[in-house]
Amino acid sequence: MPEPTPPAPTLAVEDLAVEYRVGQSGFLASRQTFRAVEGVTFAIARGETLGLVGESGSGKSTVGRAILRRAPLAAGRVLLEGEDISHARGRQLQRLRARMQLVLQDPYASLNPRMSVADIVAEPLIVHRRVASKAQARARVAELLHLVGLPEDAHTRYPHAFSGGQRQRIGIARALALEPPLIVADEPVSALDVSVRAQVINLMQDLQEKLGLSYLCIAHDLAIVRHISHRIAILYAGRVVEIAGRDAIYDAPKHPYTEALLAAVPVTDPAVQRGRARAVPRGELPDLTRPPPGCRYAPRCPRASDLCHARQPPLEAKAPGHLAACWHPG
């Protein structure tokens, strides 16, 4: 009897690269391109959350947009439940949209102020013709609003009548409407107040358990994704520098940049916070139109050697399930 093949992961990204053009394209000016993201590979299993952490310029949002097919792929493949979607276009792409959804950062800007909550949440259902009648749409919207913990009477009101946390719930309800297996959450809580962040993170965890969702959770700081992620990938200047299970990242980071990110997270213990020796990286991100030949973090890295400046370290296993791209892992 043949072995049953293991189920394909919800999302697999293989050697993804995204290029942007810089400067004006004219008749005479030569177009300069740079790779905002390069060689990004990871997979997300069903019911799993991958935290994708990086600072501005790391390309973390670009990765999210490329997966959603809103940024063009320069190289690599994106597989959704085993199906190659790297080159989907037109109708096929439109159908794909039902299977992966986005939760945006700013709950104030991501909801059309002129549409009622019912219209906002029902929009995906109508666009993908999942409901036959108004009554059916209304019933499904009520179900969704209940699922994300919004009051019954929410559907007739407009976004401005809700607080930031409630608006983010509306955004989540919209993303859930088509029951997608994958949700890309681009900084879902960083625009929210501290006391409300926890509500939204808890809600996302509950929904994952209930519906078996997979999340790609993009964030700029390690503290926020700690509670929600099963695994975490660290992105620096367009490359994954480390990827491992949550506890391994927080307890035994291998890459010096991960160490710096951890050291920079502000903690609420004044004595600890004052006494911390900071491994804060000096300097700036490298210019990606002319990336350094070696490790991209080398110019800022306290452990950098000649080897680091000369050759790019491969992303390889330093411990079981713990990959890092560093010649001198910690």
């Binding site: 439109q94 945006l104 700013d106 800007a109 909801l111 059309n112 102020p113 549409m115 666009v127 955004g171």
Partner: protein, 313 residues
């Protein structure tokens, strides 16, 4: 209708805007009820009563309140009927130019890329080409008339709509909720219709009203040149044009139609200014706060001090 009542409340508080609205309503009412109001047929000539001055002047009579022109036609009646054609042409041009400009702006802003460059160059060319020259060209080929006038004025005035619409479309395409709609799977038609067009309503309304005044003036200019409205029909612009030969011996022939144009344009501008502020929530709140400050019991001096220092009253 609580929202409407709210708007009206705010309008009543703003005296200038209220005057503007009253002015607009008056002009429109006059145009609609012209046959009932006008004392004479505007085209009826009376050779015996040529160039009569207004009633209050030395040789004037109450039969012709605003005097008569060189053919003895009643100036007041001509103004009343003239408002019809003037308003009709201005509305029609605002509508056609608006429709053309909005379509081109939407296409240009939404498609972007090559289509955008092409359409915007078209706008540039049209803007840089002297409008009056184009009008002369078309009218001399097709011949003057009200329809021609509407068409040529629409052709020379759509560009501003295209530019404004394109700018707003580009801006709203950047907004997160448009991205959200596209990720949800909305097609271009739905994105434009549900998510972008509603943003255009308030600015377009304001723009159309302001443009309306431009068209009234343009119509007057073209008719003044003899290329617009043709006698025996009449418009304010034509009245000014035909009165100009008599400006030294019959000042009323140019003055009254001129005043009508000024009155209409001013009314519209006052009202449009208010409308613009009302369409902008931030400006609207500021206006509201100024109103509160004005009504609050307190001395004028205290208020002036507050305005100067930004400190407490």
């Amino acid at each position: 209708m609580a929202r409407g009542a709210h708007f009206f409340d705010e309008l009543v508080r703003d005296k200038a805007a209220m005057l503007g609205l009253i002015g607009i309503v008056t002009v429109v009412a006059v145009a609609i009820f012209a046959p009932l109001i006008a004392p004479y047929d505007p085209a009826a000539q009376d050779v015996l009563a040529r160039l009569k001055p207004p009633a209050w002047a030395a040789r004037g009579s109450v039969e012709h309140l605003l005097g008569t022109d060189h053919l003895g036609r009643d100036v007041l009646s001509r103004l009343i009927y003239g408002s019809r054609i003037t308003l009709m042409i201005a509305s029609a041009v605002a509508l056609f130019a608006g429709a053309l400009g909005v379509t081109i702006g939407l296409v240009s802003g939404y498609l972007g890329g090559r289509a955008d460059s092409l359409l915007m160059r078209l706008v540039d060319i049209q803007v840089s080409f002297p409008g009056i020259l184009l009008i002369l060209l078309i009218v001399s080929v097709v011949g003057p008339g009200v329809t021609t006038l509407v068409v040529v004025l629409a052709i020379t005035n759509w560009m501003i709509y295209a530019r404004v619409v394109r700018a707003i479309v580009l801006q709203s395409r950047q907004s997160a909720y448009v991205e959200a709609a596209e990720v949800v799977g909305c097609g271009p038609v739905r994105v434009i219709w549900r998510h972008i067009l509603p943003n255009l309503v308030a600015p377009l309304l304001t723009l159309a009203i302001l443009e309306f005044t431009n068209i009234v003036l343009a119509e007057a200019a073209v008719s003044f040149l003899g290329l617009g409205v043709q006698p025996p029909a009449t418009s304010w612009g034509l009245d000014v044009a035909s009165g100009r030969d008599y400006v030294f011996i019959a000042w009323w022939l140019v003055t009254f139609p001129g005043l009508c144009i000024v009155f209409t344009v001013l009314s519209i501008n006052l009202f449009a200014g208010w409308l613009r502020v009302t369409g902008d929530p931030q400006e609207r709140d500021k206006r509201f706060a100024r109103g509160v400050a004005r009504r609050r019991p307190g001395t004028r001096a205290a208020r002036a001090a507050r305005a100067a220092e930004g400190a407490k009253p």
